[in-house]
């Protein structure tokens, strides 16, 4: 799973730079990719479960669905940002911390930019996977089956 999610961020979104190998090694070895990956998989899953099966509102319209999607993406964005921040900047990896502390390495600036990148990548993924969840879950929904269309 680590491999799978890592590949998505590295290959699809290009969030990898060999110059800052320590960061990605740390993420890989400490399950950071799993945490980041699960946040765009599980959060939309839970959100759309709530929307399709627990939200008992019979007058749902497309704008409700859009707001829910936006909310889901926002949650994923925030969560991802938090996870990335904690994993990278708040890690107890001695070597990584030293690299970040050393201004000459450029690690500090690069590490600081990563949470936003991961958050944006996960937001896009949440949007896509959320839409797919939505199409699947609506099939079995009793009340919101008509959303998004």
């Amino acid at each position: 799973m680590n491999e799978f999610f890592g590949t998505i961020y590295d290959s699809v979104f290009g969030i990898f730079d060999n110059l800052y190998f320590l960061i990605f090694q740390h993420l890989y070895e400490n399950g950071g990719y799993i945490k980041l990956g699960l946040s765009f998989v599980l959060i939309p899953f839970v959100c759309w479960i709530l929307f399709y099966y627990l939200w008992k509102y019979p007058y749902g319209k497309l704008w409700h669905w859009l707001v829910w999607m936006a909310l889901t993406v926002l949650i994923v964005f925030g969560t991802t940002y938090g996870i990335a921040n904690t994993e990278i900047l708040g890690s107890d990896n001695q070597a990584l911390n030293e690299a970040i502390a050393d201004a000459g390495t450029g690690y500090a600036d690069y590490a600081a930019s990563l949470p936003l990148k991961y958050a944006l990548a996960n937001s896009l993924l949440a949007l896509i996977i959320g839409f797919i969840y939505s199409l699947i879950m609506k099939q079995f929904s009793k009340i919101q089956i008509h959303l998004p269309f």
Binding site: K56, Y57, P58, Y59, G60, K61, L135, K138, Q139, K142, I143, Q144, I145, H146, F149
Partner: protein
Amino acid sequence: MSRKLYIFAIGGTGTRVLKALTMLFASGVKTGNGFDTVIPIIIDPDTGNGDLNRTKDILRLYQEIRNQVELPDDFYAQEIRTINEITVNTPAVNPDYFQFKLKNTDTNTFNQYIGFDSLSEDISEIDDKNFVRLLYSAQNLRSNLDVGFKGNPNMGSIILNQFTNSEDFKKFGQTFGDDDAIFIVNSIFGGTGAAGFPLLLKNFRGNTNITNHIKIRVAPIGGITYLPYFSLTRNEEVNAETFEEKAKIAIDYYNRTIISLNQINTLYFIGNRGNTNQEEYAVGGQEQRNKAHFLEMAGALAILDFCKNINSVPQTTQIKEFGIEHDTQNISFTDLNIENAKQLSAPLTKFHLYTEYLNKGLSRSLNTARWTKSNIKLVRGNKQSLLDRNYFNSAEYNTQIKSFNNYFEEWIKEMKENKPVFSPFEEITADNALEIVKGQTPKGDKSFKALDIQNCLLTDNISIRNKEKKHTMLIKMFGRSTDRVLSKRNLLIR
């Protein structure tokens, strides 16, 4: 076991009781005890009567709606048919067949009908003529028959005698089966009903010229006789001040010729002594359109009581009276005895909520809630609703469902405006819809939302879906959803 119940509704009161019974049937009340078909037969010479035409229209709509519901099991569960439909086995709806035709009453005056005019003043016929004058006033003789007998049973008994020779009555005999039963509804204080009741009974028990007369003679027969329960705004040709006196005389006659001779198995009496409600004066015709009255619904309950106890009807005449638990002029469900409250509370509340919803709640959900949408993308056809905008714009919905519901609401409203008041419901809006039952305030959301949720949950339920019979989904869905919503909030007496 397949059984038919023939209900002979005589005169204006009979017609209005039939209307009340039809409303109860629409609400989901059933006769039970194997009576799968009810055959109403209206006997009223007053063919232009407002009440009569209203009831015939209600019966027509009931049949049209029911014909478009596949296996109705709640609302409209009881089958209602005309004798003609049974004899020619046709599903075609024609409300004229609910009324038995009386010949020569459309254009004739009473004196023409009995041949009084053709008697000369000659010595050979003058005695006959004078004898007739002894029995009938000049006003009686001049009366047009197309507006009924204007409270004169002595006229009614002559005219209605021809009824048993009619084609309609012959068809009644032909269709009468082994386990069938008869119920007669009449008023004792008017003209048509007071005269028709003993006449009918006499023929059922003794006329050997009717087909199946052996079955008819021994069939269980019940009847409800109305004692005075309203008065009139004016006293002219029809005089409400004579109602009580006429009732006493008729009861005495019934006692001697019907009750003492055990001609009827169960006879229900109902009335409202000291009644204060006044109906607009009308001798008959289009102008006679009395407001619905609680006692007419109570009469419908008598029919249900008769069916319920059909297997234990005594051979000697049993007399029953109707009463309510609390002596009040403003009746609601809790004022009825518990059995009647149980009979009426659930069906009427459910149906009232359903009609109110369609009037006040549908606009919010139409083409928004999934139960009103048939164009949902990427889902199978059996999950699409059959109750989409097209359905609610269809002629069938507007001319059948809406029209019947309007009659139902009018009926509820009229009972509320009459005396005693029958008013178990509160006025509601879309926001406080579940405060529908008087004196009951459920917790939580009170809007129609709960009903819409239940409708959504029911949409893909296969047992309520049928494309061929257009009203199936609406009628079955609301039968179930109103029940769930009201039961959950303990708003029904069960």
